[in-house]
Symmetry: C2
Subunit: 124 residues, 2 copies
């Protein structure tokens, strides 16, 4: 059941960081902040092949995310989700797009060999 | 092995929200923002009996936390931890102390029957 509310969409569209919780191989939780956008009805982030969160999501699609309005921290969202797609296609362009949103510049931290990945999450 | 770094302590001592990831009964992750302080070498939060995060931590002490400096979001911490104590003792006073830190007033949202709980987390 799965549709993002207007409030969730608003927080995700703002310049707010998303805290993404994933599951480690031993079942313990991991959490870290990421850039985010809402696209159609999905929560979309961008990470790199080989990072803990990427390996975790490839193994187990169950995630949870939370964020607040940076200018009003008590205005927050808490969402359980499921990874429905992980793809390298268009991911270099996509990290630049997210960087433009958050930093106003193309992504400044690309490293040689960095394989970016778009991750799409559906609200459960 | 388990001691908070100066950097972690600094972020936890600032007026920054902590995103706390816990495990649901089905093993999926849950994450939500909380007030926090560092006390001795522990990460200390305050919640209420019966909330999802409280029930989750009582069942499985494995947690993960992350936060950033509100004035410098790229200055962040990511910590795996374990709940080592959950107690109601002193928890009413403690939520007022945290509220003073974050809001500058005693806790304004206490509800009748709200049983506050101090949760102490050790870095793994």
């Amino acid at each position: 059941m799965s549709n993002l509310s207007g409030h969730e969409r608003e927080i995700l569209s703002g310049k707010n960081f998303l805290f993404l919780a994933t599951l480690n191989p031993d079942g313990s939780p991991q959490v870290s902040p990421v850039w985010v956008e809402a696209e159609d009805d999905l929560i979309v982030i961008n990470t790199s092949r080989g990072r803990v969160k990427e390996r975790n999501m490839a193994r187990d699609p169950r995630v949870a995310v939370s964020a607040y309005n940076h200018d009003d921290p008590y205005n927050k969202i808490i969402i359980r989700g499921e990874v429905v797609e992980m793809t390298e296609e268009g991911a270099r362009e996509h990290i630049d797009k997210l960087s433009q949103k958050y930093k106003g510049t193309p992504y400044p931290w690309m490293k040689p060999g960095d394989r970016r990945i778009i991750v799409k999450i559906r609200k459960k």
